[in-house]
Structure formats: structure tokens, C-alpha cells
Amino acid sequence: MMRPLVCLALVAASSLVAAQDTELNPADLLKPLSDSWPTYSGDYTGRRYSALTQITPANVKNLTLAWTTRLAAGPGGPVAPVPFGPRPPDIIVGGVGDNEFVGATTVKGAILSVNGVLYVTAPDNVWALDAHDGHLLWRYFWRTRGGTHIGNRGAAMWRNYLFFVTPDDFLISLDARTGKERWHKEIANFNQQYFLTSAPVVVDNHVIVGTGNDLDSPGYLSSFDPESGDLQWKFYTVPVNPGDPGLETWKDLDAARNGGGHPWLPGAYDPETRLYIFGTGNPTPAYMSAPRGEGMDNLYTCAIVAVHVDTGKMAWYFQTSPHEMHDWDSAQTPILVDGTIDGKPRKLVVTASRNGYYFTIDRRTGERLVTSQFSGTVNWAKGLNAKGQPVRDPAKDHHVGGALVSSANGGATNWPPAAFSPDTGLLYVPTAENYAMYYLTELDPRGAMGLGGKEEVGVGGGGSYISAIDYKTGTTVWKHRFRTAVGDGRGGPGLLVTAGRLLFGGDVSGNFVAFDPASGRPLWHARLAANVSNAPQTYLVGGKQHVLVAAGDTLYAFALY
């Protein structure tokens, strides 16, 4: 590891002042989302529904910029030289590799907001900012061994410790007061081409995080002790040993062991049952049926899975794409809803899947209650089976001459988080409608590894939307199409909804927009320097509700004055 370079004066000073105030009590994570944003989805429900009500449809027209901050990544200095004022804090450098990621800095994750401090991440980088004005408190940079630097979904917090993962397979703990590294643990195998992007989730004394991989390696979720980083449990999303449940849904053990199913986004947590509920990724090889067992379900890939948070033992699962064939993960963060179905109160979990289908599930039992198609164009399924699962049409996997399939690889929705409002009973889902030609390019019956064996060329044809789905029926109550020159349907960024009756999100043209959650009508907007790249969030500091959003390497906070 590189020796950390700490600017003693500045960091020490800020840590002394803030020492008593930064700490996050794990019990606070059980509270509904309000003044702070202490975990990936704001709270454990995944709803991204804030109780804050200062900003409303009546006053949103006066919403204005409070501050903006451009984040400097990497080992170098600030984005631009600072002509006046104090020198920014030095960078704390860690890492076991010799490489420096120099790709574009894009914030694609959640920004923690705890006790007046914001914690922001991008691959290999963490920043701590003052929530009042975005002032930089400290920054941490990790020299990498490599790995897929595609995004980082944010940090997790336990007392005064921060946790985040790196593309080269480390879980890292920092002291939240100073940014100094506490420890780093290798939690996945770099030789096997694992890479890590997820935000960890803290539940009590568990730090839970899942894997990513584009080669044929098994996915897993693991839990670590926040003090020591020691492994507490590990749950594989595919069978890896003889006799493991689900093995009968694979061609053989070797196929299952190479079966993917990576849980690469954070899950939700239900304190009543102590179940951690999450989604799993696609089976691998992604586009090859025969090596996995033609027509076999390939459990527990592309499923919603519930595990006991203390043991990692599975309680139930529901597979949203049996034998998935297009790399359409079901890893999207599921959302817990306390609702009513057929006049009876029910504890539910809902998800809009990358495959274009929406599901309402009983979160205690895994019983599926509602399935609907929320994408207007998806054509890969023949219909639903008796369990309410879409049934794959093999003719729409791919074809030597090309198969016209909706959706393109990005899917009907993807990692940009959905939001749910108990006020409207609607789930708001960033939605893409589009087509692509999928060409089979590998005739070897053994197929290809990973994402190989097919080539895909997009043909557009649809549009980018926010869909508002009634959880009781699966009906799309309204759908706002972002106006663009032509319908190329790439989908939009994540969403936030508030008790102030506003839905916040970015469009596909660089605007940050507040919508009426009942109708989808835009009520306010501001154009940013780039498209929104994460999901908007909100927090209270100095008595003011702020709405915070990232666009590439720049954060914007809006408030009323």
C-alpha cells in the first residue's frame, strides 16, 4: 500500500471540530428518510421518498441554486487552479496497484448526507464535503490494480467509519472524520475478473455488499464486521457445491459454478423480518443457452432474493427472468411498500425489472401478486406463465440473420433508481423503449464466454420516459415522454419523490426537473452542464431543505431563499 499523504493541519483541524458530530448510530438507519441521507436509498425501504416538505408545488418556481462543486478526481490537484483563498486539503492516497484511473469522473451513486457532511464517491475516489456549501473537507484516492471502472454506487456508514468498494476488488474502510484509511480487504478474486461497484449497506453490525463480473464467475453477497472487516457470511447466488439448492436448474455443476447472477446493486432491508432483499444479475454466459442447460431456469439468477441478515441464509426467492438471454439483470434495488391488495393490508416488495416487466411480491413469503409489462415495446417474451413470470421466446434471443428485439442491451430500465410515493401509491421508473438487432456470431455449440457470441446494433425506435406504475394493479397510470428530436430511447437518470408532493429527476437533455407526481407534468427545471448522472437526493441543513444532484463530475444543490 502507498503511504497516505495527509495534510496534517487542515485535516486534523476539521476532525477535531467535527469529531463529536460525524457519528452515525446504526439505529438511525431504521428511521424514515428525512433530514439526512445515511444509506444508499436514503432509508432501508428503497423508496427514495423523503418526508421533507419545505419545497412544494406552490413554491418550487422559486427553487434556486444554493451551491455547486466540481469534483477533482485522481492523484492530481484541483480541477482548476485556485487563484484566491486557501489551498485545498491534500489527497490521501491508498491502493495496492500502480495504475491511476484517468477516465471521466462521473458520480453515478448515492451521496451520503450525515450530520452536515456529504460523502461522495466515483471509482477509486471519495470526497467529504460540507453540506452547507459543498466545501471540500478531505479526499481519498485509491491507486488501482485495474478492473472495470464503470461506476461506483456510493459509500456506507457505521458510526465514524465509511465503507466503499473498488473496481480491483477491495472493501475499504475510512475514518469519516479525516478520510484516513482504517483497513482494506480483498473481498473478490481479481484473477477471475471480478470487479466491485455496489454501495455497501450497513445493517446493525453487518456491512453487506455484492459482486460484479463480466466473465463466467459466480455472484455472491457477503457480510463483514464493520470494526475488523472480517467476513461474517457469504451467500452465492448460484449453486457452487454438489447438492446446493437450485442445481437442478442448470446443465451441470460446472455450468452453475460459472453462472453469474451478480448482485451488483444494493438491496432493501425489512427490520420486521430481518430479511435483506435484493436483486440478482443475469446468468452467464449471457447470450448462450446451451452451456447453461437449454430452457432451464438457472436459479437464482435474475431473481429477487431474500436472505436473513444475520446468517445469509435464503428465506425465499422469486425469479423475474427464468433463463434470461439478453444480459438484462434483475439487480435493480427492490422497494418495500406497506400497501393494500384486494382490500387486505400487505407487506410488499416491488420491482420494475430491466426485462420490461413490473412485479409486486409479498415480502414475507415471496408470493408474487402482480405482474405487468411496463415497457410498451418489449417483445422477447411469449406471455406469462402460471407463476406470473414472463416466458422467454427463444426466437428472440438472437439470430444469424439478426433478431429484432426490444429492448436493446440497456434494457427497459437499469441501475438508475426508481422511487415510490405512499401519497400517490405510484412507483416512478426511468424507462427506455427501443429496439436492437441481435446477431448470433458464434456457431460453436459450446458457445462463448461472458458477453460474447452475439453482436448487437441498435435501431432506436422508441423513447425515454418516466413511468408511474400503480403497485396494486401494475397499471401504468401516467407516462411522461422526454421530448427529443427523434426517439432513440436511451432511458433517463434516477428519481426522488418527496412528501412535499414533488418528483425530481433529470431528463435526457441536461435538464434537472421537478414534476407533479400525480400527473408527470413538469413544474420547474434548471439546465445543468451535463445530464443528471445519479438520482437526486434531499437533505436538511441550516434549517433549509436542499435538493442535491450530480451531473458528471459536478454537484448542484438547490434550495429556497
Binding site: 462521473t106 485495474g146 484473477n191 415495446t377 436492437a436 458477453l451
Partner: protein
Amino acid sequence: MRYIHLIALAAFVSSSLAASAQQPPTGGRPTSPTASSGQAGRIGGAGIGAYPTREPGDPAVVERGRNIYSTNCAFCHGADTRGGASGPSLLRSAIVLDDKGGELIGPVVQTGRPDRGMPKFPLSNAQIADLATFLHSFAVNGYDSSRQRPATIVVGNAAAGEAVFKTKCASCHSPTGDLQGLATRVPDPRALQQGWLMPGSTAGRGGGPVPARPRPPTVTVTFPTGQKFEGELERVDDFVVALRTADGGRRAFRTTDGTKVDVKDPLIAHRELLPTYTDAEIHNVTAFLVTLK
């Protein structure tokens, strides 16, 4: 697994095209990493990363290892190590991926796996080292290059395609008019197929040349007063529209006050036809169009 790119799409596309200069256009990332383990470097680009690479083995050692492999292993694991009738692929095996110089492969080979039907092979440690060098000579990554590629994407029936053309395309296009010599102008059948399905569109993943958009959309902006502006659409969103008028001037308007925006997409027919095609119709039309030399 694969993620959607929102902001970095343009950058991603350009990098994937750069990658496909060396590799078939899988729409993925370079198969040869830009930096290797143990060597300082800078890695960059949206989603582009590097995984451990192995120093190229001495060709003579690789060849020795190949001979040992062919004699002892290929029958079950396939001549190319990708698996055979009774043995799994070694290429993606965790043991092989973790192995450096035979230290993990050796024990498996020398003791066998009787529970899975693999006999033991009494190879010497030197032979194991050669075998490992051979196994490590293959590139392994999630964007696996296709090896047995189909000779052509043209799989349809030209006569049936001509019939489809007459019902779905002939109101705007003619084989003896605008499409005369099409297959000469666009000799790659896949580019031709993509081009007739949706000229110029490259949304989604994957490379491959696609003909440029023929004409941009036009737009009519109508104010509540009834005043109208028409022109070539430059950009539009829910709040602002910009157009170029016939005299070359640029006009931009805020549209949140009841102003009507009517975009006319010259490709609307292509867009509306998309959901109506069967794959067989697409293949047949392409088989017909490739005859228009």
C-alpha cells in the same frame, strides 16, 4: 452483467469503435488491457479497465505444453481448452485463472478428480509447468471473440423479400429509383440491413458501420398568438426548441408558455414499421436488397 451509460455514451461509443479496429465489433471493450499488473500505467475511458495479463510464454515452451495437452487432455477438454464431450472448459476455470505456473493445476492433474471421472496423469513438475504455460497462452475475457463466425447474415429468401418490399417499402422507395445500386453502395449486408431498418440509428450497443442519417427532422413552432416558425430541427426538449430557418438563421424559443412544437421526423415511417416486422420478413427484405447491385 452490463450497465447502461447515460452521460458517457458518446465517449463509450468512440472507444468501442476504436477497440473494434482490432477486434470484431462486439460493442465491448478492448480485449487487450491497456495496463498490466505490476506495470505502472494509466487506465481510462468509460467502463474500460484492465485485468491481470500474463507475460507471453516462450513459444518453444508453449509448443511443448501444447503437445502434452494434446496427448493427455484434449480428448476431454477440447483441442482449444474450451471444453469437450466429458470435460469442462479450462479457459474460465477458477483454478486456471488463479494459477501462476502450474502450482494449482499440477495437483489436480497429478491426483485426478475421481469423483468427477477425471483420472490422474503422472506428469512431471516440469511437464506441468509447460502445460500451464500453454493454458495461460489464451486470452480470457468477458468479451469473448467469436471463433466460428457465420459466413453471412443473409439468410432470407429474395423473392419473398421483394413481396414484403412491395407492401411495406414501395410507397416511398423503388429498386430502380433511389435504391438502384444500393448493394454496390453498401456492400456489407449487415450495414445494409441496419441501414434500411433505421437509417443512421446507433442507439444501444454494438459497432458496425451504419449509414449516416439522410435528413434531419423539421419542426413547426406555433405560438399561442398563432405566429409560426418552421425550419430544420437543431434540438428540442420539454422546455426549449432550436431550429434553422430556410435563410440559415438560428432561432431558439422557450416552449413552456403553451407554445406548440410539432416535430416532423423524415424517418417516421421506418420507426412505425419497426414493431410490425417479423424477423423472417427482415431477413427476406435484406436478401432482396442485396441483389440490387
